[in-house]
Each structure stands twice: as structure tokens, then as C-alpha cells.
Symmetry: C2
Subunit: 344 residues, 2 copies
Amino acid sequence: VIRREGERIFDYEDPQGFEPLRRSIAQVLCSQGLGATANRILVTSGSQQAISLVARLLLREGDTVLVEEPSYGAALRLFRAEGLRIVGVPVDRDGMRVEEMEPLLQRHRPGLLYCTPNFQNPTGTCLSAPRRLRLVELAVRYNLPVLEDDYVGDLRYDGRALPCLKALDRSGAVIYVSTFSKMLMPGLRIGFILADGPVLALLTDRKRTTDLSSASLPQRVLCAYLSVGRYRRHLRRCRALYRGRRDAMAAGIRRWFPAGTSFAVPAGGLFLWARLPGGLRCRDIARGAAEAGVAFRPGRESFVGEAGGDRWMRLNFAANDVPVIEEGMRRLGLCVRAARRAAA
Amino acid sequence: VIRREGERIFDYEDPQGFEPLRRSIAQVLCSQGLGATANRILVTSGSQQAISLVARLLLREGDTVLVEEPSYGAALRLFRAEGLRIVGVPVDRDGMRVEEMEPLLQRHRPGLLYCTPNFQNPTGTCLSAPRRLRLVELAVRYNLPVLEDDYVGDLRYDGRALPCLKALDRSGAVIYVSTFSKMLMPGLRIGFILADGPVLALLTDRKRTTDLSSASLPQRVLCAYLSVGRYRRHLRRCRALYRGRRDAMAAGIRRWFPAGTSFAVPAGGLFLWARLPGGLRCRDIARGAAEAGVAFRPGRESFVGEAGGDRWMRLNFAANDVPVIEEGMRRLGLCVRAARRAAA
């Protein structure tokens, strides 16, 4: 790309993002059933900047944001840093309990719902089809902007894909965000927003005042790589690889962790969400795990309040290969057993 | 860098910035008389993100920010987007009129002063040494955080460098921001903040919640390039080049613009700030200039209010080579003459 494009790569880029890249992203989205065009896409520095731009556009200090509970820790930290009130909607095995939303909408009048319908972060659950429909209805009825974070929507290992909220929405209430950090590489720092009308224009203005534009070179590099066919092939390889890693992690937990540890095998995504046995908390095993060289995210980071959250751990199965996962689960299982004995 | 560092370049980077790059930046700053260490530096996506992070950390909607008037248009747009009250301090040939600040401080109690002491954007003036000392005194006395934007401090063509505000400040009131966009290339999107103590830690937290980290590859590439010796050599080449372009632009204006056009030749930086003759405004020549293929920044973008600002134009002399500048000044001069005739 450097050889071909020369000095242009060193200049400012279009604040909305390199136009051919936006076209490629739109094609990938269309191939996944999500109507999209280049002019409805804003390229961002990862999905974190996308979430930040949307939150700052739609909410002011003291406003309320509705989130799944548990939710993505970095989004919660962002909302706290912006001085927002955060209200959680519980998650069960079918994703967010949409049927509990209406009283919360009436009581808290939130300015935004932030949610990850596919392979929810951290629980790995998927929002069921009826709940998706109900959620979009509620958004329209209550004039509630919805920020749909589809960070790993296409990393599905079992079952069939469900339509995105954005694909179900005719009103423009849903703002769709995704990223190439998970599917390709986080160091690119390329995410994007798909939104409609004045919201997209206002977000582009914000992007400009925030950092003028994202770097040109990574956008041109990604654009040179990204075609529907190539993305699909890459996705196929990733799915096969990550499915095996997921299964290795599930087997490792069953083998090495004490009875009473509970988890569900997620149908996609990157994370396995496991509950420690017998009242143990992540705090109780943090030192042992660090000494054993095993890293995980403590569940408390994913909760609005802290009560009980630390009995859960988020384990990333995508980032290591099978032998490392097997050894990691063995070591972590021993830590948990040791912590249980110490507590007994 | 890709070959040498392998897949690490594709991972998340330290939110504070690639540590060896921060060390190189600190060395460059030290060579310019500004005491700096790697742990006091935060790498940002250009200086625009740096300004945005500082404004959002220190100010809330409705708070007051003090700026030079005229000032950098993109910073003014950012402050407006954040809902800030903007109060201007006039600029004369010795930079901001610091002696007029005290009543403004008492009356408006600003939460921040944003200023560009070297080759002020857009006027090209430098803040005089006595005013620098007085400004730092005032900042300490009034507990006023100062955001010093030194975007082209080292692009000096005549005279001797003056110490940065940050170098004069013992209190930590001054937050220093600069960028590699002007000296090297904007497409890198690498700027940085030099700040002290808790302010730097809070800014790093903000950076993390805003976009997790800046991309790794451009940071590692810049780091591989950046050494004190190499930066100095590059600076010497740029200075010689840009000095010639500045002089060509000044000669072109003298030759082609009608009498009554006024400007001062700046001692450094990128811009020449020229006043149109006889009440003409940028609006009056905008269409003609566009048709002639000549671009400039209308002065109104640099003013807090609009009154009178549009009689000024900001001309960039660094971005084109001498023949292009000569032809551009010829065409623009003809536009101005035509507009004058039309107005007469």
C-alpha cells in the first residue's frame, strides 16, 4: 500500500473514513443481511471510540444509560467517566431480559441503551429472536436510541445467525457499531458505526472535533485486504480454530475445576463465563492465578454494582492455542481448589 | 518495523503510548530545553485528541475557556461542541495581550487557558518573553490550568527560540501539547501531552476510555525513525525549505495583491495572516478563489465572535513548493482585485 499510494497515506484522511474502505465495509455488511451503504458508515478508532462518540453525542452528565448486567467492562468504565447514571437490565440464557425493560424505561427515562445482542460480553449469550423484535418495538415506542455493539457477531460456531437489531429497525433508533479488532487485529484500531441521517452527520462532526480523522495507512491497508470473499474465508478459518479452543477450554474446566463450578458453552464469540464454586470470589484466587501465569477478567468489572459479580470470571478462549488453554485450565483449576481448601 | 516486530504490532498498545517512543520524545524535548521523562508523556491521536482529552477532563458544559483571539479554528469548534463558554484575549504583534487577562480571570473564572505561544495559529506571532513570565505567574496565582499548544515551536526561521511556558512553570499548571503532524506528517496521527502527576494519570485514564490505545504500528514506525540527531537534521531541511516558501508567499502578496493588503512576515510556523484591503471580506472572494483553484482559511473560523474576523485570511505557505505559491498568489491577487472592483 505504501508503494502504491505514495505520500497520500501521510496526509489527513476524510473524517468520515477512507471512502473505498467504507464501501468495502458496506459490502461485507450487506453480505450478512444488513443493508448498508458507504455514506451511512463512519470509521472510528476501534469500537471503543465509536461507543465514546455515541455516548457523548446523546448523553450529558447525569443522564441515564441502560446496559445489560453484566456488561462490557470498558463500556461501563467509559460511562462512569462521562458521569452517567448506569442502570442494569439482567441477562439470562436468552440474553437481556427485555420483558423487564419497560418499567425501567418509565422510571429512569434513559437516553441510551447499550447492548451486545450477539455473544454478549461477558456472558456469551445471544438475545433470542422474540426479544430482538420486542426490543426494537420498545425502542420505537419510547424513542430510545439503541447502541448495538456487534463486536463478534460473525464469530458463530453453532446454530444459526439471528438478524441484528439494526436489520429489524426501520426507525433509525438503532446505531450499529462493530470492529475489526476481534476478527482481524486490535492494533489496527479500526471500528465503525452504521447510523442514519442526522445522527451520522453529528457523529462525524464529533469525530472531527475529537481527533480530526483516523490514520490513513491502516484504513488503506485494511481496504486492500477486505473483500467479501476474503473476509468469508478468513471467518471460516477463525471459526474452526476458535471452536476448537472453546471446546478445549470447556473440557479443561470440566476436568480440572472442582464440582460446583458452573458455565454454559457459548455458541460463538471469545469468552466463556464461569461461576466459581461455593461462594469463592475472583479476589480469592487472584494472587494464585497471577503466580501460575494465568490471566482472566474478574466478573466484578462487568457489573454496575459489585454485589456478587466477583463470583464470576470471564475466560478468553480465542487468544491462545489448545495446549496453552489446556495447561492454563489445569493451573487455574488447581488455584481454585487451593482457594477452596483455604476457605474451608 | 513489521518484519522486525512481527505480530506484536497488531495487538493493543499501552494506553499511555509505546514506551520507547515516549522515551525518544522525551529526549527530543530535553534537547530543546524542556525537562521531560517518558513517564510524564501521553501519546495521543494527534494534538486534536490531546486538546479534546484535556478539555473534557478539566471542563464541563457551561464552563469557561480562555483563548487567544484569533485562535485555532479546530480548537474553537471543539470547545463549542463541548458546550463551553469561550472568552477571547486579543493578540497583538507580541502574541496574546497577557496584561488584559487579569480582569477576565476575575470576571469569568475560566477553567482553562488554551494558547499557542510559538507562531500563534493563525497570526504567526510569538508571545514575548516578559509576557511568558507574566502568564505563568498569573496561572499560578489564579490556579489556572494552561494548555500550551506548541504545534510548530521548532519551525523557527528567524531570531532565537523563547522558552516554552512549560519550561518556565514549576507548579504543574502548564499542560504541554505537541504533534508530529506538522513537522513530519499528519497521517501518522501522533501527538503527545507532557503533564505532571495526577493530571497525567487522569488523562491516561480518559485516553483508555476514549479509544483504549492509539495504533501500535505508527508509534513503532515513528520510534524507529526518531532520534535527536535525525530529528535535528530533518528540522534543518524543513526550515530551509519553508523559509523559502514563506518568502515566496510574502513576495507574491506584495507583487500581486492591491495596496491596502496588510500582513506581517512570521518568524516561523506555517501560516501567513493577511488582512484584505478596504473592507473586503473572505466571503467576497470565496467563489473566485475556488474557481481559480486556490484554497485558504477564512479568518472568521479563528474568531470567537464573527465581527470583523472575515477581513482576514490564513494562508498556508508550507504545503506547496515555490512555483505553486507564486502562481497561487498571482491568481488570488487577481481575485482580490476583481472583488474590489466589483465592490467599488
